[in-house]
């Protein structure tokens, strides 16, 4: 039984996911309230080097050939053993394809309470979860004895969970991972040619403000720099400047990206209804009264041609 906050680090093919740093930042806040340590739990195989920039007091490293790639069964077994042995105050998981496969199972297996979709913690160690598509927040005491928590992004910046100093890494014993019921067979790479904008996490959307076909390239350059995909509102598609598969709106696709970056889109309802499921809408428009600003979280009142090339450069430098 300790007051420590464990963070189950998520990584995929040698890349630590941003949510891991978000969780480390959250754990830091929570640890202040509980007066415990922040402990990053890294599962992998020959992956110790991933731990170098974790803002944690300590890294527990669990090495096993069966942990080389994420599978729910192996992670559950390894973590069940660790959590019942250490009994930390809380264990943070990402509310992701990795964390969500593990946290609920452990809750049932170990009889520990689970807090889902937590966005942030208060200074009194209360959790705040978002439900109902972000329309409702739920607050409560961090349950005892060990709270399992899945975290959504938005409450903390990943940068806060990074550190220049490498934390001390302790290897932790791994139980026998036998009779695994789930094994990875292979990875299938996303097809680059065939874009489904309704599934893309980052969309650079262009509207009438783009003015002519050549300017699509400006948007494309930005999209490539940032790792997103260009899509458009009706007028642009009508002109034949982009294929219909890129149409966002009533007559096109409904999208739900993490970021919808709208350039030169005024925000007609036909368009807006298709983007409301986006996590964050950022709009650039010359007209301060453009309705797109009523749905956007962030806005820039500027001619897109003044901004887009500078932005592309800034993005490139930031990488």
């Amino acid at each position: 039984m300790s007051q420590d906050i464990y963070v189950v680090i998520e990584h995929l093919r040698g890349q630590v996911a941003d949510i891991s740093y978000t969780m480390l930042a959250a754990a830091r806040e929570l640890s202040r309230a509980t007066s415990g340590k922040v402990i990053a739990v890294l599962l992998g195989h020959n992956a110790k080097n991933l731990a170098r920039d974790f803002a944690a007091d300590q890294v527990l490293y669990l090495d096993h050939a069966s942990l080389a790639e994420f599978t729910s069964d192996a992670y559950q077994k390894a973590l069940a053993e660790l959590i019942s042995k250490d009994q930390p105050r809380a264990v943070l998981f990402g509310n992701t394809s990795i964390g969500a496969d593990v946290a609920s199972v452990l809750s049932m297996r170990l009889g520990l309470p689970l807090v889902n979709s937590c966005r942030s913690f208060t200074s009194e160690a209360k959790f705040i979860s978002q439900i109902c598509g972000g329309k409702i927040m739920a607050e409560g005491e961090l349950p005892s004895p060990t709270a399992l928590v899945t975290m959504v992004p938005g409450g903390y910046q990943p940068d806060q969970g990074k550190s220049v100093e490498s934390p001390p890494v302790t290897e932790s014993a791994v139980p026998a991972l036998e009779a695994l019921r789930v094994t990875l067979s292979k990875y299938i790479e996303p097809e680059s040619a065939d874009v489904d904008i309704s599934k893309e996490p980052l969309l650079i959307a262009v509207g009438r403000g783009i003015q002519n076909k050549d300017n699509i390239e400006l948007a494309d350059a930005l999209a490539q720099a940032i790792g997103g995909v260009v899509c458009a509102s009706r007028p642009v598609i009508d002109q034949g400047w982009l294929p219909t598969s890129r149409l966002v709106g009533k007559s096109g696709k409904h999208v739900k990206p993490k970021i919808y970056f709208a350039m030169g889109i005024s925000g007609a309802p036909e368009h807006v209804e298709a983007i409301t499921q986006s996590d964050t809408i950022i709009a650039v428009n010359t007209d301060p009264r453009a309705p797109i600003f009523n749905v956007a979280k962030y806005g820039v009142e500027m001619d897109i041609f003044e901004l887009v090339e500078t932005l592309t450069e800034t993005v490139k430098q930031a990488k």
Partner: protein
């Protein structure tokens, strides 16, 4: 013959305005419209039907007895589900731990080869039902699944990661999968077909054991986040705005 069970969860329709009840710690569900968890459980039903059509078997759809459950079940029957079950208990106030325990007791009796459910729902405050159910049944679980096939006595499932990467996982039978998306979008069922299903199929009702609510956090208060009526405007020169935007991109985890 694959024995497929689909747990179809119902959720309050977010189209209706949400209000918080007098306690301040729960949603006021007096006027809630309970609908199928469209983004995910509807896909789970579709995936079950697709598997049946492809490899044979039976599909049992099981849902909690909430207003709207009949509609969900008959619609599933119109799509091709063979058996419809409604589980009686006070589910409007239940949590997923309780749902998982209650349903596992019933589903166990069916000896299924495969259990499908939506990977998540908007009211999952205590974790998602799929993995909770899997563990209650002692079965393996894979979530974020967008494709299921049976090969050589094992399931090959496609599990989605952010950015479009897909992992193909091999899973032993029986298993529980949390469906992110069916291989094909849920089909349209004409109203006439649903009406037909109401005549030709029947819903079995079963009683759940007492609900065991443990495992969920206690909620002290609920509140609506401040509505952003207008965008927060980023001011400055193109360079300054670019820097702010890049910071924002990083914060939102896309850079």
């Amino acid at each position: 013959m694959m024995n497929i069970v689909v747990l179809a969860k119902l959720v309050p329709d977010l189209v209706e305005e949400l209000t918080i009840d007098a306690s301040g710690a729960a949603l006021d569900l007096t006027f809630a419209r309970w609908i199928i968890n469209e983004l995910f459980d509807d896909h789970a039903i579709e995936q079950g039907i697709l598997l049946k059509e492809r490899s044979g078997g039976t599909v049992t759809v099981i849902a909690p007895d909430l207003e709207g459950a009949d509609d969900v079940l008959f619609t599933a029957a119109a799509k091709g589900a063979d058996r419809l079950i409604k589980v009686r208990s006070d589910f409007s106030a239940a949590n997923n731990h309780a749902v998982a325990r209650a349903f596992s007791a019933i589903i166990k009796g069916f000896q299924p080869d495969l259990i499908l459910t939506g990977v998540q729902a908007h009211n999952d405050l205590d974790g998602s039902a799929g993995p909770l159910l899997a563990e209650s049944l002692g079965l393996p679980y894979v979530g974020y699944v967008s494709g299921v096939a049976l090969a050589d006595g094992k399931f090959m499932v496609k599990k989605e990661y952010p950015g479009g990467l897909i992992a193909e996982m091999e899973v032993t039978l029986p298993a529980v999968f949390g469906i992110q998306a069916a291989e094909q979008p849920p089909r349209y069922v004409a109203v006439s077909k649903v009406r037909q299903a109401m005549k030709t199929s029947s819903i079995e009702e079963m009683d759940a054991s007492d609900l065991d609510l443990s495992g969920a956090p206690e909620i002290e208060r609920m509140f609506q986040p401040e509505a952003a009526a207008h965008a927060e405007m980023l001011e400055g020169t193109p360079e300054e705005v670019s820097a702010k935007l890049v910071a924002l991109f990083k914060e939102l985890g896309v850079l």
